[in-house]
């Protein structure tokens, strides 16, 4: 008799003696799209002043974003991937970190950097195309932006190993995109972290898209959070446009990081283009974007604060003006930066090899770059 695959599986199920593994993934939200809070879910570490602070960081992030985009459009900045729509994921999680904790971002967590204290000047300097922008990362316990997708996750794992070994009591918080979960590096990092029981929290900033590729084309799995299960630890989903949910999940995970890693899938949306070189109208509908605009993290937090009488139009204007002033000052300062070509030669090794010195001297003496054209 011919048995279909389904029937075969059914028979196997019937004679199965015991289930060897079962797990589940939970989703949670604290503040909904209308700015209404479910008090039973609130973290004890959050109050209204913290929510106001979140709103301010998210607003600064959005303002800085639009500044780089406009600079880029004028040829005064390089290709840039904005955070628009993802501010709650970045700000909510970074605010849950202790000062000694280490931040390992990819290329999009601008908001996390700001919360951790990266000067706006450094941010703009980097996006104007100078490595010098990243010289401010070590001082804030963060690694530089990492462009090769998912490769930073293993560095985060190594940093977590270091913290555990050196007993610094610091934890590591690292981010990856939804697309990044398809890389081997992602699985290797989870597996290492799980096996070594490291103090690390992985955040998947699931903004639904990897350039033109939707999450449904990255994986047949119904959640990304469940990927933790195979690595032997817990995964959870949160509303990534709800900074309170992101904060709570991250804070809880960091608090328990001595017991091992945690994976948080933060469900958010890239409201803008992938980068300034991308045209999203080629692959997604306006209607989809409109749906997500309703869930905008800034809008919901502002609604909440206004209802509570903690925010109004005039406060908004004051904050916008302050942000604009800080941003413009940082941009001006970054535009005065004078690149020194010697720095590209002199930061390669801990010493200067003779052969490289020859190349440096030849370059400087010939002055070929004075014209700067190629």
């Amino acid at each position: 008799m011919y048995l279909t695959k389904k029937l075969q599986l059914k028979i196997i199920e019937d004679i199965m003696i015991k289930k060897v593994y079962e797990d589940s993934v939970n989703y949670f939200q604290v503040m909904d799209e209308n700015g209404v809070i479910d008090k039973s879910q609130m973290s004890n570490y959050i109050d209204d002043s913290k929510i106001t602070e979140m709103y301010k960081w998210m607003s600064l992030t959005r303002a800085a974003d639009s500044k780089v985009i406009s600079l880029q459009r004028q040829g005064r900045a390089v290709t840039y991937g904005p955070s628009v729509g993802e501010e709650a994921t970045q700000v909510g999680s970074a605010m849950a970190m202790a000062p000694k904790d280490i931040l390992v971002p990819n290329f999009r967590q601008h908001g996390s950097y700001f919360v951790r204290g990266l000067p706006l000047y450094n941010f703009f300097l980097y996006w104007k195309g100078y490595e010098e922008g990243m010289d401010g990362t070590k001082a804030i316990n963060a690694t530089p932006y990492t462009v090769p997708v998912a490769t930073q996750l293993l560095h985060a794992v190594g940093l977590a190993f270091g913290q555990k070994y050196l007993k610094t009591d610091a934890n590591v918080l690292t981010y990856v995109g939804d697309g990044g979960t398809s890389e081997g590096n992602f699985y290797e990092a989870l597996n290492f972290a799980g096996e070594l029981k490291l103090p690390i929290v992985f955040i998947i900033e699931n903004n639904q898209w990897a350039i033109s590729t939707p999450v449904s084309k990255q994986t047949a799995a119904s959640t990304l959070a469940q990927k933790a299960i195979a690595a032997g630890f817990k995964g959870v989903q949160v509303d990534g446009n709800d900074p309170l949910a992101v904060f709570k999940a991250t804070h809880d995970a960091l608090e328990n990081a001595d017991e091992g890693p945690m994976l948080i899938e933060s469900i958010t949306y890239r409201l803008s283009f992938h980068t300034t070189s991308d045209d999203p109208t080629k692959y997604r509908t306006e209607a989809e974007v409109d749906e997500w605009l309703k869930k905008d993290p800034l809008k919901r937090v502002r609604t909440y604060l206004e209802k509570k009488g903690l925010w109004n139009e005039s406060r908004q204007e004051v904050m916008d003006a302050e942000n604009a002033k800080r941003i413009n000052e940082a941009v001006e300062k970054s535009e005065q930066f004078k690149p020194n070509p010697k720095t590209i030669f002199e930061n390669i090794y801990s010493f200067m090899p003779d052969t490289l010195k020859d190349e440096e001297d030849a370059a400087i003496n010939s002055g070929f770059w004075q014209q700067g054209s190629y």
């Binding site: 390089v78 290709t79 290329f107 980097y126 104007k128 195309g129 100078y130 490595e131 932006y145 462009v147 090769p148 997708v149 490769t151 697309g179 990044g180 398809s182 890389e183 081997g184 590096n185 990897a210 350039i211 033109s212 590729t213 084309k217 990255q218 994986t219 070189s277 991308d278 080629k282 692959y283 690149p339 070509p341 720095t343 590209i344 030669f345 390669i348 052969t355 490289l356 190349e359 440096e360 370059a363 010939s366 070929f368 770059w369 014209q371 700067g372 054209s373 190629y374």
Partner: protein, 321 residues
């Protein structure tokens, strides 16, 4: 048809897909988006999702799977979004694509093409401006192609797809839309392993490829010197014969590439010339390349890349020695 390099490659892919049902295009964002440089534009609509595959974000996955597809008799042409991300597939290329044939004494073959944008000069982010050809050229078994114009790009890619070897097809982003050229509408091949003498001359041989070809050509035109310019087109296997013949005629040779100086393609060429034509030389071999350090962020790019002035100064120097 008039074509820039971008549309020439698109035309080659279209022909290959039309003529060979076993050809499969795969890579990140190659379908709906038509690739981040629009090189695969229109091909999904024409050939469908079975043959133009938007893959998960995984370079090792793309190349490793392409190897398997090739082993099964298909003819994949994979795209790696930027050469700077192909290092994630390095093992698949060097340990597997390059070796499959020799490990099985030619019983298993890997007829596959991996296309990837290379080189800088276009103010990109970190890792988007790499010139990694030497890493791969160092691995026997991989064919490395790098066209400098639309005509060669189309003919080389079609030829690559007609071969049964693994081919790396390097596409200089700076040349994608730099200029247009009249090229045949239909199918044609440009030979592999054969350099192109783009200008004949008697006083100096300049061996170059990729992004440096238009730069060298401009400098030579402006200076009005009688130099012979060789555009390699194929980096490995090297067309040593064409180079040696030219050097024997001119007695002076300069190698110009964008990739880092140390341990680069120029070193290989210089070594071969010194082994086989040292006594025909009237001056030491000269190399013009980027400094031996990682490609810098855009605002330092101008201090790094070989430009017309640098090539011109080098020519003055070699001609007076």
């Amino acid at each position: 048809m008039m074509a820039n390099m971008n549309s020439a490659i698109n035309s080659a892919l279209n022909i290959v897909m039309r003529d060979d049902e076993k050809a499969i295009i795969l890579g990140e964002d190659v379908g709906k988006d038509g690739g981040v440089f629009r090189v695969t534009e229109g091909l999904l609509a024409k050939y469908g999702e079975q043959r133009v595959i938007d893959t998960p974000l995984s370079e090792a996955g793309i190349v490793g799977t392409s190897i398997g597809m090739a082993l099964s008799g298909l003819h994949p042409v994979a795209e790696i979004q930027f050469a700077g991300f192909m290092y994630l597939a390095f093992d698949q290329l060097v340990s597997h694509a390059a070796r499959y044939r020799s490990r099985t004494r030619s019983t298993w073959k890997v007829p596959m093409v991996v296309r990837t944008p290379v080189s800088g000069g276009v103010r990109t982010l970190e890792h988007h401006a790499e010139s990694p050809e030497a890493y791969y050229a160092h691995s026997g078994g991989l064919i490395i192609l790098e066209p400098s114009n639309p005509y060669d790009a189309k003919g080389l890619l079609i030829k690559a797809m007609h071969m049964e070897d693994p081919v790396l097809f390097l596409e200089p982003t700076r040349l994608y839309r730099l200029f247009r050229q009249e090229i045949p509408e239909g199918s044609y091949e440009v030979p592999i392993g054969k350099a192109n003498i783009i200008r004949e001359g008697t006083d100096l041989t300049i061996v170059t490829y990729g992004t440096m070809v238009p730069i060298v050509n401009n400098v030579v035109s402006k200076k009005g010197i009688n130099a012979e310019i060789i555009d390699l087109r194929t980096i490995n296997p090297l067309d040593e014969k064409t180079i040696l013949q030219s050097v024997e005629k001119t007695g002076r040779v300069m190698i110009v590439h964008e990739a880092e100086l140390s341990f680069g393609v120029g070193a290989e060429i210089a070594a071969r010339i010194s082994e086989k034509a040292l006594f025909k030389l009237n001056a030491p071999i000269m190399r013009v390349a980027s400094p031996s350090l990682p490609y810098p962020f855009p605002s330092y790019e101008q201090f790094y890349l070989p430009n017309e002035r640098k090539v011109s100064e080098a020519i003055d120097k070699i001609m007076s020695s």
